[in-house]
Symmetry: D2
Subunit: 347 residues, 4 copies
């Protein structure tokens, strides 16, 4: 791999595309050579995102116009469902990090059930790595195509997986009450995401039917070696960025909440982006804003035999574009935090 | 009782005091004759709350200055802990609705444990009614002193109590994940409630230690006839008004989520302020803003044997001043919704 | 006019339509008999606005389905441009308050210039009253059709007109820097009004080209008897409701800022909805939220010969639906504040 | 100057202190060796700002405890009024960038008038440079002590000074209507800055009496060579970061708004942080969030002989800590944008 890698971003006109650009322009070994946005083809990036002006970025083009011979890495930030065929058609020398949901479910039947149509690249699916970096680093290292995890699944799996792997919490009784900012819904114009509809309020949505449920259950299933079904209840709240997962678990046997904390501290020691807070300290989404960090908190519950976990991330960074770059770094053998060193923006 | 009742509001310079004024000035049978605010004594209400000008309100005075002979009803919106002695010292002809927590816990030991000092009016406590109106209406009707419920306990008990009374959900495994606006913290200047500290973020607080836990457990205990311990986890989020309680329950025997819904619909039929939404419909806090409504939603869970309940209120209205007026109406034999007919303010 | 008037609301599925409903259901002499929303015809109001459930409202229908024989008053909250023909076609016994901009510009040439097409009901226009109630009350009283003012024009004209009428400020050098909440843009789904695009920021829009400019200039021209051109610069900011107009004026001759204040106090004495604050007191939009009040503040400027005026309203109430009901009250000889007595909602 | 400079930050527990840390930890030639916070002495930075954990920062100490022998540059982020004596007492080898207002007014009489007491370091004042970098770069380069400009003065002077220097706009008739986020008020607990008091509203404050007025007038006076008095009207609005200055000016002679634009484009060509947008394009504060950029927009007014200017910055970056680092870079001969290359955070 040469000093600098050439990067294409497919779907640059959405929030995750813009976030990739924001982070990659400061990555010392990345060079953005192609940006695509079918409906905005021919326009400069700053016509769509004025905060990304003056950066010498290439003009946006259609996917068909990309010259893949000069591309080393492709970030695919296309809408869910449109991605399978695009990625299946890319030349083999291009490494891919896919931010859509298209390759996240490894069971074609689960995919068909949740997305309403058969998967269109089941062969490719077999070689994909699931890019929850701290958990699946070795697979990511070896993969050509990485399925970047969803935002909710990232904030929910990181606290849970080490505990399930070690048999410290029960897999049968997990409740995940998650709160998300609005950027997770993307930039498309919908009445339900208008300022006037979102500000000064909160409500659950996708109750017992959100497509991130099977992704979470798949990851927890891998950790336990058996099928897992969880309660996952997302809520929409008035903030742009941030996800907080409040996770209610039952302890196994004599395990204590302090044991959970110790296990997580040990598991994530040395990880650059996962910070297990002191026992009984509450994570706040504002303290990860704009950064690739995941904060984890562990509390004793008043109900005997129970404990409470919290996971906080910026949904656009660790929940999307930041983790995608982290995965690229792993795939290319770069230092894992390269280009991701910026601190959170607070206040 | 004469045509019009004369009302004193103790602690008029806080948010619940202001909300009492906002609502009572439109109550056809209420006349505000005294407003107290020890540190603002001598000032007009609009010096503290400019939105309440031009209403012909009495100037604020100290509690000692109130002439109780002309007062029929006293709303006490003083800080927790200062209230017991004040109320114990009021003349017997004055009916009292206390918005503080001072008379909410009926077990003196529980009070001492959670508030760090012995209760100072244990005799009076015995005659107090707990003013969760829809549940304890008959006791409220007969009481001279009503302990108005806390905001979280209101949003949490209304969905749960009918189900526990009928044995439809298990009392041992209740998880209440609650989200509150900032007005619940009052108007006192604290760094943690600054705009810059709250906007664009969410975090849990008082985890497993919030003083509304024993109040909720007391109410659920009354409903089941045995001690109940619940997980209650409050979160602070960027909105002024509103509480959403997301409640995760286990079903008893063959009970279904639809059964829960049917039981709640039946229990609250005819109630002017509790609206059980169609099965599978999510309440939103913005749709109760400024009103005395409590919206309840019921959902099937993907996890077998589980269901999800939601309760949404405006914490300053149904969670405080509105319910206080509702209780006054019950105590005085007025129509229960008198002065509380305004619709929610949206957007 | 009988005890109760029957009311039709055209365009009930927008924010101003919903606000009309919120206010009219508490108006003691109004009964809503028809609600129209072409694309939502057949649905109940609460399918569109869940906060307006349980009110016994009529199902929404198309305009063509309305039986006008039973309608006394029609509020027209249709999009700009579609209204002229609808109103021109209504039976003569129906009084009309039009909340669109279609009849606000009395000069057909000005209309054509700003709206890009010839006015389609120029005859009807001649008999319309411009419903800035405090200024044009007598004309409103006599009119069958009232053009309800725009939100910006209301907040801008009320402080200025008395001063221009009396020749206290110069008409040639008026600068209006206005800040609006997002509900002014309506409920249609636009990228620019998404929560993520609006929160935590501010920007000007429609600079020197906003269609409320000619409406303001028309009103100020009437007050001075000559043509007036003003600087009007609107800004979009992250709040749902509220407009603040900051108005920079030059004093005539020896006039002082205190003189302006005295003139406004005198002019608006006895007005139920216009409150001139003490000299040097700043209005805040949050202190009018949900109410029909207009707060006016007057300040001395450090620059000699200059003064500063502020006008604050809730754009959906005094800037739209509240003023519309105020105009209906005037047209029907009801007390002007009937149904509009509720206090602002703060916090 | 050695490869790395050692830096002390006085007043690290405020927002500008935290922002200095956020930026300096990524500055390749800066090393933070001392952080002071008198009331938090002995605590780690992350006890005060959890988002700044894991950075190996020194524990906070009192000012008296700092060992100045190892310090090259001191950023002083102390409250206004306390700073003069502290800076006067620092050893001469320490270069200073002062973020307070203490050295911004170069006329001792103006200082005494606006701050209510005599300046305590008038000798030192004479050698201070006013650090509006783009305008006073040469003086900054030569100075030991730089007075870092206020946030409002930065956003207001950058659009105006080139135009006044060239005589394109009149100095007698400048109106600056400015809108600020809440972080400008700092982190101290005040009722007026509570979330509940700020959200969903806007209001003017400090009208004709804000202490940034004389600082703006001083800068404009330097540009014109005569005394200037301006209208400066700040507003507080619900966002954490950002200032927008909307500036209304009169053109000199035949000058057009397009001429103003051309002059600004020319003046700021090559500046890394000042971006003059295309004529008639509106700056938005959200497009500078977290960055050191200043966006400038120029519009034609409908009123003949007038034009409109807009300046947008992040008040904590270009309006405080970012410009302070920019000034340090100039003082030390570093590339001016070193450590300030991050792009804005949007959404």
């Amino acid at each position: 791999m040469s000093e600098t890698v050439n990067i294409a971003i497919l779907g640059a006109s959405g929030y995750t595309g813009a976030e990739l650009v924001r982070l990659l322009v400061r990555h010392p070994r990345a060079r953005i050579v192609a940006l695509t946005a079918d409906r905005r083809a021919g326009q400069p990036m700053e016509a769509v995102f004025p905060h990304l002006g003056g950066l010498g970025l290439p003009t946006m083009v259609t996917i068909a116009e990309v010259d893949w011979s000069g591309v080393d890495v492709c970030f695919c930030a296309l809408p869910h469902g449109t991605t399978q065929e695009v990625i299946a058609g890319l030349p083999q020398h291009v490494k891919v990090v896919d931010l859509s949901a298209d390759f996240r479910l490894f069971d074609p039947e689960a995919y068909a059930q949740w997305y309403g149509h058969a998967h269109m690249a089941t062969d490719l699916q077999k070689s994909v790595a699931y890019g929850l970096t701290e958990i699946h680093r070795e697979k990511v290292k070896a993969a050509r195509v990485v399925a970047n995890p969803g935002c909710y699944p990232t904030a929910s799996q990181l606290p849970l997986i080490p505990l399930l792997e070690q048999g410290l919490v029960q897999a049968e009784d997990i409740i995940i009450d998650a709160k998300s900012g609005v950027s997770g819904a993307g930039r498309s114009a919908k009445e339900s995401n208008l300022f006037t509809e979102v500000t000064e309020g909160i409500h659950p949505y996708g109750v017992a039917s959100h497509r991130h449920s099977p992704e979470i259950e798949q990851g927890l299933g891998w950790a336990t070696g058996k099928d897992v079904v969880v309660n996952f209840t997302p809520h929409l709240m008035p903030m742009s960025r941030g996800i907080l997962s409040s996770i209610y678990v039952k302890l196994v046997g004599e395990t204590t909440a302090e044991d959970l904390h110790a296990a997580l501290v040990k598991r994530y020691a040395g990880e650059p982006f996962v910070r297990v807070l002191p026992f009984g300290t509450a994570p706040q989404t504002r303290f990860v804003r704009g950064s690739n960090f995941c904060l984890i908190g562990v509390f004793k519950d008043r109900v005997p035999g129970r404990a409470i976990l919290f996971g906080a991330i910026d949904n656009l960074v660790k929940g999307a574009s930041g983790q995608a770059i982290q995965n690229m770094n792993v795939m290319l053998g770069f230092p894992e935090d390269m280009g991701l060193e910026q601190q959170p923006l607070f206040p």
